[in-house]
Symmetry: C2
Subunit: 523 residues, 2 copies
C-alpha cells in the first residue's frame, strides 16, 4: 500500500540495480521456480501420480525446504534431511513394531512417551554448541518421526508409510540437487574466493580513505560525536565495507563449510582443496583490519591532534599508507588470479616507508609533547628524575581519597591546580605562528564539549538534573599524543602485514597456485 | 563410536555442566517434548482423529517447525507461518478457480506456470535485504501454495483442502504458543536484559584484565605472535567474553526483535517497553569496547614499550582503569536492578583519574621519545625547523623510486643510512641504569623477529625462498610511543564512557526505571 506512493519507476529501478549487482540472485530465483515446477509435474501428469500417490507432495516440501543458494549448502542441507529422515524412519519402525507387540492398550501410551522423549532429546541436542550447525537435521528427525509413527498407528503398516515417504523425499532431494548443480550452479567455493579477494580490497580502500580523511580534516566541519556514535558514517563507503569484513568471519566459515561439500569444479580442480585455509587468511586479514578500525577510531575520537601537527608527517604517513594498500591489493590480486608471485620488492618498499615514518616521528617527537616547557630538558637524563617528579606531583595531585565523602573537596582543589597547570602550559607559544592559529581553531572545538564542568554541576546539589552530565577535560598534550597514536597504529598495521603475506603464501602453497614467471618481477 | 572411548562419566559431567549453566535449556527441551506429545494425542485418541482426519499431521509439522527458544521468537515465527499460510491459501484458491474455468487441457498448464512464478518470486523476495528476516515466511508461502494447488487439482475441491490444512496448522500453532507461554516461559526480553548487563560486566572485566596484564608483563615469557594470531588467548577469559560482546550486535537485535512480540510480563510491566533502546545502549557499549580491543591490540602488538617505561605510569593507569571499570559495573548494576541513580560522584572520580593520567603523561612525555639526543632541544621552537629537517632527510631517505628496477640499490643505501641512524640513536644512554637493563632484555626480544633482514634476503637472488619473508625493523622510539598509544586509548575509553552514561540515562528514562533514594549517594 504505502510503497505505491513512491514512483513505480524508482522501485523498478532499485529492483534492477539489485539484480545487476549480483545476477546470481536472478539465477537462484529462476532455479527454485524450475525445481518446484519439475516436482509438480510428477503430480500434474497422470502416469507418475498413479505410481506414487498423494505421498508425492512430500517431494514438493523437500524441494521448498532443501533448496539453498549455493551448491554446497544444498548438499549440506540435503545430507541433514536425508540422514535425519533415515534415522527417524528407522527409529519409528523399531518403536512401532515394539508398540505393536505390547497390545492395543499399551500401544498409544508407548507411542506417546516415545514422541515426548524424541522431542526432548532432539531439542536438547540442537542446543549443544558443536551440534548447532545440524539444527535443521534435528528438526527433521523430530517431525519425520512423529509423522511416521502417528500415521503408522492410524493407517497401519508403518513400514509402508515410511518407505513411501522416503521415496518421495528422495525424489524431491534428487530434483533439488540436480537443478542446483546442473543449471547455472552457484558454487560456495567461488563465492568464498571472491569474498576473500573483496575483503582484501575493502581493507585497502578503507585504510586509504581513513588516512586521507585524517590528513584532510582540519576540524572545521566535524560532525557532532553524538550523531556519529551509531557507527554510521555515510561519507565513508569503504569504512562500511571494512566493517562488514570484520563481521565476515561467520560468512567465510559458512561458505567454507558449504564449499567442503562441493566436488572439484572449474578453477578449483583438485580434491581436498584447502577451503579452511581461506578462513585462516581471512582471520589474519581481520587482524590487520582491526588496526584500520583503530585508526578509524582515532579519526573520530573525542580527542584530536591539531591539523598542523597532523600534516607535519603527511608525506610519510601517505607513503606508508599507499605502500601498505598496494601490498594488500597485490595479495588480493594474486589470490584472485590464483597466482603465486614474489612480493619481496613490494614488502621491502612497505618496510622502508614504515621505517621512514618511524624515523620522522622519532625526530619530531618533541612536537608531540607540547607542554615541554614544564619538564626538564631531555639532555640531562643521568639524574634520576623519575622518583623526584613523582614525589612532587603526588603532593598536589596524587592520593585520591577513596571515600566519596572527600571527593568534593578533592575535585575542587584538583580543578584549581589543574587550571594553573593548564595556564602555565598554554601561555608560552611553543610552535610557529600558523600552528598557533590552527591550535586556536582546534581549542575552540576542544572546549566546546567540556562546557559543563564538574564543579558547575556540583553546585546544583540534589537537583535532579541527570540531563546535564559532566564532560571530561582534555589537555592539549593528550591531543597531540593522539597523532602519535595514529602513527603507531599505522606502523603496527604494517608490522602485521608480514603475517598476512605468510598466510597468503601458505594458502597458495596448499592450493597449488601457479608460480608467476620470476623474471617478470626481478627485471 | 569415538566418543565412547572417553569415560562416560566425563561425558555425563559435561552434559550436567551444560544444563547447570543455563537451566532454561532443559526447560526448553521438555517443553518441546510436551508440545509434540499434546499434538500427537489429537491423533492417538479416537475422537479428535475422527473429526480432523489425516490432515491433523500438519499440526505436528507446525509444532516441530514453529517451536522456538523464546516466547517472542515463537510468536514471530508463528506470525510468519500464519500469514504465509493464509496468503498462500488465498492465492492457491484464486488460481485454482481460475484454472478450473479454463478447461481440462489448460488447467495443469496454468497450475504449472503459477507454481514456477510463485517459486521464482518468493525466492527473489527473500534475498531482498529488508525481507531477509521473513525468509521463513516466504518458504511457507511457497510450499503451502504448491501443496494446496496440487492436491486440490488431484483430490479436487481446493477450498476444502485449504481449510482443512489451515485448521490443523492453526491447532499446531495454538498448542505451540500455549505451551511456550504457559509452561515456564522463556522471555526474550528477560534474556535481552540479562545479556546487556552481562556485556557491561564483561567489558569491565576485560578492561581490568588487559591493563593488569600490560602492567605485569615484563616481556620475558611472551608467546610467539604467530601462535596468537588466531585470536586465541586461553589465559584471558574476560577477553573472550569481550569479543563475544563485540559480536553480540546481531544477538541483541534478534532478542529485541523477538521481545517486541511479547506481551508485558514480570518486571517489564508496561506496553511499548523500549526494547530498541537496549540495542542502542549495546551499540554505545560496543563503541567503548572497541577501545578495550585496541588496548588489547597494543598488549599483543609486535612493537612493545619496555617494561620499565610502562610501570612509570602504573598508579595512574591502574586508577583510571579501576574507576572506569567501577563506573561500567555500576551502570550495569543499575540496569540489572532497573534503578536510576546519580552517577555524578562516580563520573567525577573517573574524570579526575583520567586527567591525572593525562597530566602524568604530559609531564613525563620526554620518556616516550628516547632518541631525543638526535633532535634539537625543544626550547628553540621559533626557528622554522620543519622544512629544513624535511629537506635534509629527503636527500638520503626520501624520493622512493617507483620502478622496481631501482629498488635494490635504493634498499641497500637506505639500509646503510638507517643502520647509521640506529647506531647513533642507540649509543648514548638516555635513561637511568635499571631502565637500560630492561631495555636490553626488551631489545633481545625485539631483535629476535627481524632476524632475517631485507638485504640478507636480496642476496638469494632468484632462489625460490618464499619461506623466508623479510621482517620490518622497529625503532626504540616507536616502541616507547606504544605506551603513549596505550594511555591515549585508555583516556579515549574514559571519554567515551560519558556517552555510555547518557545512553543508559536515556534508557532508564524511557523504560521508567525507579529513582533511587538521592541521599543514599549524596551522603
Amino acid at each position: 500500500g504505502s510503497e505505491e506512493r513512491f514512483s513505480c519507476k524508482a522501485w523498478l529501478k532499485s529492483v534492477w540495480e539489485f539484480c545487476k549487482e549480483d545476477t546470481n540472485r536472478v539465477t537462484f530465483s529462476l532455479k527454485v521456480g524450475l525445481a518446484v515446477l519439475l516436482v509438480s509435474l510428477l503430480i500434474l501428469f497422470r502416469a507418475p501420480y498413479e505410481v506414487f500417490g498423494t505421498n508425492i507432495i512430500w517431494s514438493i516440501l523437500t524441494v521448498a525446504i532443501m533448496f539453498e543458494y549455493t551448491v554446497g549448502a544444498t548438499f549440506n542441507r540435503g545430507f541433514n534431511r536425508a540422514l535425519g529422515s533415515l534415522l527417524a524412519g528407522i527409529l519409528a519402525i523399531c518403536v512401532a513394531q515394539l508398540a505393536l507387540c505390547t497390545g492395543r492398550v499399551a500401544e498409544p501410551i508407548i507411542i506417546g512417551i516415545s514422541i515426548f522423549f524424541i522431542g526432548t532429546i532432539t531439542s536438547f541436542m540442537k542446543l549443544w554448541p558443536s551440534m548447532v550447525q545440524y539444527e535443521y537435521g534435528f528438526r527433521v528427525i523430530l517431525f519425520t518421526y512423529c509423522l511416521i509413527i502417528v500415521t503408522g498407528y492410524r493407517v497401519g503398516n508403518p513400514m509402508r508409510t515410511a518407505m513411501d515417504r522416503l521415496y518421495s523425499i528422495a525424489i524431491g532431494g534428487v530434483v533439488a540437487v540436480l537443478v542446483n548443480v546442473l543449471v547455472f550452479p552457484i558454487w560456495a567455493g567461488e563465492q568464498l574466493h571472491k569474498e576473500l579477494v573483496n575483503n582484501f580490497n575493502s581493507v585497502a580502500d578503507s585504510l586509504e580513505e581513513c588516512v586521507g580523511k585524517y590528513l584532510k580534516d582540519d576540524g572545521s566541519e566535524h560532525p557532532e560525536f553524538s550523531k556519529t556514535v551509531t557507527d554510521e558514517f555515510p561519507d565513508e563507503p569503504a569504512y562500511k565495507r571494512c566493517k562488514t569484513t570484520l563481521n565476515s568471519s561467520a560468512k567465510l566459515e559458512n561458505l567454507a563449510n558449504s564449499a567442503k561439500w562441493e566436488p572439484p569444479h572449474g578453477r578449483f580442480g583438485h580434491f581436498f582443496y584447502p577451503w579452511s585455509e581461506y578462513v585462516k587468511v581471512g582471520a589474519v586479514l581481520r587482524y590487520c583490519a582491526y588496526e584500520v578500525m583503530a585508526l578509524h577510531g582515532v579519526l573520530h575520537s573525542e580527542i584530536q591532534a591539531p591539523y598542523n601537527l597532523r600534516i607535519t608527517f603527511q608525506s610519510e604517513i601517505e607513503d606508508a599508507t599507499n605502500q601498505g594498500a598496494e601490498l594488500l591489493r597485490s595479495l588480493g590480486k594474486d589470490i584472485c588470479n590464483m597466482k603465486r608471485s614474489h612480493k619481496t620488492s613490494l614488502i621491502k618498499r612497505v618496510h622502508c616507508s614504515a621505517e621512514r615514518l618511524q624515523r620522522a616521528v622519532a625526530m619530531h617527537s618533541y612536537l608531540l609533547t607540547s607542554c615541554s616547557d614544564l619538564i626538564p630538558p631531555p639532555d640531562t637524563p643521568s639524574k634520576p628524575l623519575l622518583p623526584k617528579l613523582t614525589h612532587t606531583l603526588s603532593s598536589t595531585v596524587y592520593d585520591v581519597p577513596s571515600e566519596p565523602l572527600a571527593s568534593e573537596f578533592y575535585s575542587n582543589s584538583l580543578a584549581k591546580s589543574s587550571n594553573q597547570l593548564l595556564q602555565t602550559q598554554n601561555t608560552p607559544p611553543v610552535q610557529t605562528e600558523s600552528y598557533h592559529e590552527l591550535m586556536r581553531k582546534q581549542s575552540r572545538r576542544l572546549h566546546s564539549w567540556p562546557s559543563r564542568e564538574v564543579d558547575a554541576f556540583q553546585e546544583e546539589d540534589g537537583a535532579l538534573n541527570v540531563d546535564f552530565l559532566p564532560r571530561m577535560r582534555t589537555f592539549e598534550s593528550t591531543a597531540a599524543l593522539s597523532l602519535a597514536n595514529f602513527t603507531s597504529l599505522l606502523i603496527e598495521f604494517v608490522a602485521r602485514l608480514d603475517h598476512l603475506v605468510e598466510a597468503v603464501d601458505e594458502l597458495s602453497k596448499l592450493a597449488k597456485f601457479k608460480h608467476e614467471e620470476l623474471h617478470k618481477e626481478q627485471v
